[in-house]
Subunit: 148 residues, 2 copies
DNA sequence: ATACAACTTGAAGTCAACTTCAAGTCAAGC
DNA sequence: GCTTGACTTGAAGTTGACTTCAAGTTGTAT
């Protein structure tokens, strides 16, 4: 079963032009063509594209994804390099998770700050708050961040 | 105590040109100048810049960060808008966390795949693996993703 | 056979977020 | 007072990831 670029794009929820761009950049060397030159995507190709989407959302630049694709087609001699790249990206994901944790705590604090201000009608309400009135999980932050 | 742009950039581990760019884009309305026009950063400014860095790493575009900065200076009338923006960004962070979870599972599977291949010297080792030999946490994935 | 939507390409355009450049100014040490 | 390194600006250049455009081709439906 084959799909056109438009059908595949719909399945993956991206623009057809994006897939053409990826192809031009060498990220889709596996895609076959009809005798007339029309791209024919297979179900199997979708798994590669899902992997691609995953790596992309994890912040890997297209150039590195392309390296991975190239190495994959070069066979067992490139296993080490592929493993290195994955380890590096895994590390990057762990760091991003830590970063998002920090950001979430900060956002939760700011959210509490503005919810409280909204109820009171003014940010000035925070001037008269004792440390005990600040939810416990934010105490460490309030020492660092003052108003905003 | 004041810092020059170079000192502040070093503290925050960014290029001075980046801080000038942020200033030009209206993200640093709080920065004072010397009589000669030199930017003079205060310790207090660093907290704003940390918030900025946090939001940026959470994927918020500079334009939205600027809106937030602008609203903050406009006073209590903009509390609702600020809260909306924070809620929206909080939701985005939660989605990103989910996305990173998925990506991490995928990377861990791929890592196991290539570690196994590295030990065997070839990816072909996976052709002769029974489903029971695949670590349990990856079983759901292997159904979807085949080799690579 | 013809119409027509969806495909093809290369080239150019866009956008965000910086970075670099050129020409000049500031300020700390000698 | 002069040197020197760090600062100032506006303008232009860069990078990554697309998107849009124009001109032409493919393939399905009637």
């Amino acid at each position: 079963m084959f799909y056109t670029i438009g059908e595949m794009a719909r399945k993956l929820n991206v623009a057809p032009s994006t897939l053409r761009y990826y192809d031009k950049e060498g990220l889709l060397p596996f895609v076959e063509r009809s005798s007339g030159g029309i791209r024919m995507f297979k179900d199997e190709d979708m798994e590669w594209l899902r992997l691609l989407g995953c790596l992309k959302k994890a912040g890997m630049p297209l150039k590195e994804i392309r390296s991975f694709m190239d190495w994959s087609r070069q066979g067992d001699a490139t296993i080490d390099r592929r493993l290195d790249l994955l380890e590096k990206q895994r590390q990057s994901v762990l760091e991003q998770q830590k970063q998002l944790e920090d950001t979430l705590l900060m956002l939760d604090y700011k959210r509490w700050y503005y919810q409280t201000a909204q109820e009171a009608g003014t940010c000035a309400v925070h001037d008269s708050l004792t440390p005990e009135q600040v939810p416990e999980q934010f105490r460490a932050l309030t020492a660092e961040w003052e108003k905003g």
